[in-house]
Amino acid sequence: MANLSALITKEFQRISVDKRTLALMFIIPALVLVIFGLSSGGGPMTLFTVNIITRDSQVTGPSVNNSVHDEELIQSFQESTVFVLHDRVYNMTNDSSFDFCFNQNKNKLRQNDIDAFIIIPENFSETIENGTSVITLLVYVDGSDAKVSQAIHVAIQEPIAYFRVRARLTQNFTMVVPYLEFDVPYWANQVLNYAFPIVISMIMLGTCMNLTSLSIVSEAPLSRMLLTPAGKTSVVFSKLVTATVIMFFQAAEIFTIAGIFGMFSRGPLILVFLSLLLIGMVGICIGLFISAVSKTEQVANQLYIMFFIMFTLFCQSFLPVDNFPPFLQVITAVFPLSNAIPLLSSIMYNGVVIDVMALFVLGATGLLFYVLALIAYAFKEVEA
């Protein structure tokens, strides 16, 4: 016990000298939270930027031309919550001007100035008045992103619905109205709260890995240290204890700053805090393992970067893991961030529900890396 307390004291002295690591642990989360927290507005949704070309004023026959209803439709788009008109409305009265305008808008689509453009046909108002046939609205959308091009069909239902009510064309009308559940309420900071599970998980894991990834490999001379009564297990355990204490203060700092800037949680805040501690512990254990297996600081640094990038890329939040082979889905499912993000978001967005599987996998991962660190350190050769 005396050996252990002496080792822990030594570790605190070592870390207190490394002021830059400490600064990294405390400044970066604060900086990120302040940036996200000070920003108001924004959110995970984007609106469709569109242009509208109306040919309703074009004369299509000998009868009197009607072009009233296209204005109602355009007004519906202008009042819509999912569309933003990029330019003025293009009112085409003949084929040649339409061709020019069409090519102009196709070029805007190509230049990413707009997401889509919509063409109201030349017999739009007449068809509505007569009610004899089906109107075809032409929508030219950027098809390079399949999800976007499917989404516009859903999005267009809203202005069409407004228009149909306005024009009293409600027959055969089925509409799906979404009510988002477990979302961040409109009064809460959207950017901070939607980003919190991902951002904070990454920061906790990364900084805690950083804290311990050099803690063993930078110890020199190892041989002299091992001549003391302190055993190898005590050495590693002392580093775990020290890092955990510092990580506790980091988690408290994150929790406090996030709370000041309006962190929203449906579930108990204590569970959020405990989850942060668990994620930090896993980072510490992974860092200890990296430090134990590395021969030099440079190797440890490179391993730390590789592990972190791998965990980040394959955390199942960015890349479509559904398309991966089953064995890789299983491997990425046990990565720390693949479980840390669902754990935090289940507490913050869903409420009291804890993702038990995520909790178990995180705990097991931390324990596994700690055991591996002990084994690797036990076999570490001493320098002569």
Binding site: L24, I28, I35, G42, G43, P44, R110, Q111, V134, I135, T136, L137, L138, V139, Y140, V141, D142, G143, S144, K147, S149, Q150, A151, H153, I156, Q157, R164, L169, T170, Q171, T174, M175, V176, L180, E181, F182, V191, Y194, A195, I198, V199, M202, N210, E297, N301, Y304, F308, I309, T312, L313, F318, L319, P320, D322, N323, F324, S346, Y349, N350, G351
Partner: protein, 403 residues
């Protein structure tokens, strides 16, 4: 021994020529260093194309659409009181056709259909399923659904998607709309309009759409990330600095030689990544040379940021820590999980100060739209690179020598 002549003058070269010679020797030294550091050499030349090939093989394994799990809760059989005619009805003739349409929509799995007139806790059951992640959405059929359709009035359905996983919400809504369209079609609800959607700039059918759409993010990430990792230690690991600085070579020349060496490595990297991408099935509507140029521009911005970090840091550990700080911010504001257009203005400004915010649109514009390399994104990348190059020279100029 004959004295060497330089521009007709005997002796050693001076001025600009001397500086150029020192820089070239510095470049040669850098190449020797890279050649002897095998892990770094592998990281520089083998890892980037390997990542592309690996990613391609993963994406081509299976491209089935994710299943959307839905529970339908129907109140349609409940008593509906028509206030206009004062008639009480319990019509639900359209409920089962709607449920059938949902069940027959591809990529939708109907987990449960609960009739609320038989089970008063129907919504609680469905809500708990949603809460525990057993379903992706609840579809609620209101009490007036069939009656309104019979009378030619708008019939509204309510969908309650789980927004815990933001990236899946749009896909859920798309699928539900598809089911509603199928229901309308199956029951001959003649719509007053049809939207004819023309998808421009789509990936041709014989290319893997998932692979191609994800490469717009993967390519800039790989180029910027690998070059950043490669260069964060190149200045800080130089030791002993005082002995180095006692030579005629000055700090600026040291840095220039490193920039030249790593730009040459970048040339090889970009070529390897382009070859691996094309070989893996990347579709390019534009010119391959433009894509190569884009990879070079993104890679050079990574080099300049890495050199800046390396010039600023006093120790290798500090360089790695600074790398982590830059990487976190670079990744968070890259637009991968929150669209840049959806970010508030202050964060958007930070996003645009880093290369990934410009790299992804640049690659997208070349591969899917066939636009040329010369664009505002290229200019932005150039400005970012110039800014970090200047900062790196300032940092190395302020570097103190160790005694």
């Amino acid at each position: 021994m004959k004295e060497r002549q330089f521009f007709g003058k005997p002796g050693k070269p001076t001025g600009f020529l001397a500086s150029l010679l020192r820089i070239l020797k510095g470049v040669r030294k850098e190449f020797k260093l890279v050649r002897t550091d095998i892990p770094n050499l592998l990281l520089a030349l083998v890892v980037p194309p390997l990542i592309i090939i690996l990613f391609s093989s993963l994406m081509t394994f299976s491209s089935t659409a994710p299943i959307v799990r839905i529970t339908v809760v129907s109140y349609d059989s409940n008593t509906f009181f028509d206030t206009n005619s004062s008639v009480i009805t319990t019509n639900d003739n359209y409920t089962l056709p709607l449920v059938g349409a949902i069940n027959n929509t591809p990529s939708i799995k109907l987990v449960a259909y609960i009739n609320a007139s038989e089970d008063p806790y129907a919504m609680d059951v469905a809500y708990n399923q949603l809460l525990h992640g057993n379903i992706d959405a609840i579809l609620v059929i209101p009490v007036e659904f069939s009656e309104f359709l019979d009378q030619g009035l708008p019939a509204m359905l309510e969908s309650v998607p789980n927004t815990q996983e933001l990236l899946k919400v749009q896909a859920i809504l798309n699928k539900i709309q598809e089911a509603a369209d199928k229901f309308a079609q199956d029951n001959n609800f003649t719509p007053f309009y049809v939207d004819e959607v023309h998808q421009e700039y789509t990936i041709p059918a014989h290319f893997n759409g998932d692979f191609n759409s994800n490469m717009n993010l993967v390519l800039p990430f790989v180029m910027a990330g690998i070059t950043l990792v490669l260069t964060i230690l190149v200045v800080v690991q130089e030791k002993p600095v005082p002995r180095l600085l006692l030579t005629p070579t000055n700090k600026a020349e040291i840095l220039v030689s490193k920039y030249i060496a790593y730009t040459v490595i970048l040339l090889v990297q970009s070529t390897a990544v382009l070859a691996a991408s094309l070989g893996s099935g990347l579709f390019i509507r534009g010119r391959a040379i433009d894509l190569w140029g884009a990879l070079m521009a993104i890679g050079f911005s990574g080099v300049s940021i890495g050199m800046f970090i390396s010039s600023l840091a006093k120790t290798k550990t500090e360089a790695n820590q600074l790398f982590f700080a830059f990487f976190i911010i670079l990744f968070l504001v890259s637009g991968i999980f929150v669209p840049i257009e959806g970010m508030p203005v202050p964060i958007r400004a930070i996003a645009y100060a880093f290369p990934l915010a410009h790299g992804a649109p640049l690659i997208d514009s070349i591969t899917t739209k066939g636009l040329p390399l010369a664009s505002t994104e290229l200019l932005s990348l150039g400005l970012i690179s110039v800014a970090f190059v200047v900062l790196s020279f300032i940092a190395i100029a302020r570097r103190k020598v160790e005694v």
